[in-house]
């Protein structure tokens, strides 16, 4: 029953081509000598060397990385604690909050983006301690990352056998000892998976950053968007090619890392 027929092969091959055509065309056109895009006029690597001198694009790269690392570290800490607390302890209003936590997962990101924009404007007008820029973007990213981390960590904890912790307690370990030497090592894969998810969500985000940033703080997605709005240029293709390359390496790296523990994949 389970075999791959010829029509299925053809349809799937077409779909892979369909998914990869955009990536391929960006890579190909990053080597195109034509200045304003358009048809192929010759091979060049000029657009890559021009990136080396382009301070604006380098700044955007740094901003993107700083934003992703800072927000991931904070969101992973808060999200892990949240996921742990939700899986173990009760508090009034817990059901309501557990549902509200799905908002960033479920609503279109533009809703979150404009809500945070309006709120940050309120805060910045109230006092001079917060300015629209990298700080507000980081806060915004942490906000949508926390629920993702908490959901991943909680699902890992819910699937765990309570007998393991009970055994630790029975053998005389305190709550603190049990947590650090039994629970935490067991939940670590969930924490790492959550952190990885948070990191990629931050790197990929355009909409929330676009609305919550301020003058001077540009990330790679914002830079690409505003360049594309003015017309695609070859150096944007070169930059995008490097991003695609990073995504390919990242995806393969994660797949290889996961392999020994989950031989069947998924």
């Amino acid at each position: 029953m389970k075999r791959v027929s010829l029509p299925l092969w053809l349809v799937s091959a077409f779909l892979y081509v369909f998914m990869y055509a955009p990536l391929a065309v960006v890579i190909i056109f990053s080597f195109n000598a034509a200045k304003h895009g358009g048809p192929w006029t010759g091979f060049t690597t000029d657009w890559y060397t021009s990136l080396l001198a382009d301070k604006q694009k380098q700044d955007a790269t740094w901003n993107t990385l700083i934003l992703a690392v800072a927000s991931t570290v904070i969101a992973t800490a808060l999200g892990t604690m949240l996921g742990y607390g939700l899986s173990r302890y009760w508090f009034p209003g817990k059901k309501m909050f557990s549902l509200a936590m799905y908002i960033p997962v479920m609503i279109p990101d533009i809703v979150m983006a404009v809500a945070m924009l309006a709120f940050f404007k309120l805060l910045t007008s109230a006092g001079g301690f917060l300015q629209m820029g990298l700080a507000t973007m980081t806060i915004a990213h942490i906000t949508f990352q926390i629920p993702f981390v908490a959901i991943v960590v909680r699902s890992r904890l819910v699937g765990m056998d309570p007998a393991i912790e009970e055994a630790a307690h029975d053998l005389g370990a305190s709550t603190w000892q049990t947590f650090w030497s039994v629970t935490f090592p067991l939940m670590l894969p969930g924490v790492l998976a959550g952190a990885m998810l948070a990191f990629t969500l931050s790197l990929d985000d355009f909409v929330v950053s676009f609305f919550t940033t301020g003058p001077g703080a540009t990330t790679l997605p914002i830079l690409i968007y505003s360049s594309v709005k003015r017309g695609i240029t070859p150096d944007i293709n070169a930059l995008s090619t490097l991003i695609v390359l990073a995504s390919v390496i990242g995806t393969i790296g994660v797949t290889l890392l996961q392999r020994p523990r989950q031989p069947s994949g998924g």
Binding site: F18, M106, A118, F119, F211
Partner: protein
């Protein structure tokens, strides 16, 4: 979650209601505070703004008014205007259309990957994951190149008498749909594949032995088994697709303004935050209503959310 009941022994510890709340505050506390302060409060805040009046400099002030909502459903300065109801309808059609198209394309792909020998499976799956983890903006603007007037794809379309020579295939509704399916296909393939892997093929064999032909075996013995993956995937696609702003912005034109673009316009170019908030709130309300209905349906079937 039965092991969360108050005052019972769990994980080897006896906890009172008070210690439950205390420990919640120590663990969940900071996360709850952050999400409440930076997400739930802002959502309430734009709810408030949506009832305020716009000032001439682009701010907002009292008195409270329903005007933003009545304007949204069509009662404007110049009588009845269908612009915004049309935008909602168009966005819903786009969301549902994208989900349906992704479903049709994801089904063969998921069965293809599941049918491969084990050692090619990881490769085939990784090949779906790579576009999934590649920035959506890049995958979207690339279609501007692919659908440009002189591109091979456009020439093919001209040769097939699909379009007129010299015309680009974008901006158009079709370009938006191409971009949408290309971007959201992996979102459906991945959960669907997980379901296909779990299929009990003996049920299909039994149906076939009992005389069912191919389509009937698929419809009655296979499709019901992959429904959970299909539903999960459709939810992952439907909501973000309805609120998409980047893809219609880059591949569509003035005639294909969607909900996301309308919100962006009000918050940035027009600087009419009260009206923009009203659009946002109605859009979010629609999503919440849908989710609530889904949570109820899932709850009745005894399942968890997601």
């Amino acid at each position: 979650m039965a092991n969360e009941r108050k005052g019972e022994v769990q994980f080897g510890e006896q906890l009172t209601v008070r210690s439950h709340i205390l420990r919640s505050a120590m663990t969940s506390g900071p996360g709850i505070f952050w999400v409440t302060f930076f997400l739930l409060l802002p959502l309430v805040w734009i709810g408030v703004i949506s009832f305020l009046t716009r000032t001439e400099v682009g701010g907002f002030e009292r008195p409270f008014t329903f005007e933003n909502y009545t304007r949204f459903i069509g009662f404007g300065f110049f009588g009845f205007d269908m612009l915004y109801p049309q935008i909602i309808l168009r966005s819903l059609v786009l969301g549902i259309g994208t989900a349906v198209l992704c479903m049709i394309t994801a089904l063969p792909l998921a069965f293809f990957i599941a049918g491969l020998p084990a050692r090619y499976k990881t490769l085939a799956l990784t090949l779906v994951l790579i576009p999934f983890w590649t920035n959506l903006l890049i995958r979207t603007y690339a279609w501007q190149i692919l659908l440009a007037p002189e591109s091979p794809l456009t020439r093919l379309a001209v040769w097939l008498h699909f379009t007129e020579p010299g015309l680009p295939l974008y901006p158009s509704a079709m370009a938006i749909y191409i971009g949408m399916v290309c971007d959201y296909l992996p979102f459906l393939v991945l959960p669907l594949y997980a379901s296909v892997e779990k299929i009990d093929w003996s049920i299909a064999e039994a149906a076939s032995d009992l005389g069912a032909d191919g389509p009937r075996v698929f419809w009655h013995a296979i499709l019901p088994q992959v429904t959970p993956g299909l539903v999960a995937g459709i939810i992952l696609v439907l909501i973000p697709a309805t609120g998409q702003f980047v893809i219609p912005d880059l591949l569509g034109g003035a005639k294909t303004v969607m909900l996301g673009n309308a919100i962006q316009q009000q918050f940035q170019q027009s600087r009419d935050w009260p009206f923009g908030s009203a659009i946002t709130f109605v859009g979010m309300g629609a999503v919440m209503l849908g989710l609530w209905a889904y949570a109820r349906a899932a709850g009745e079937r005894g399942g968890e959310i997601i």
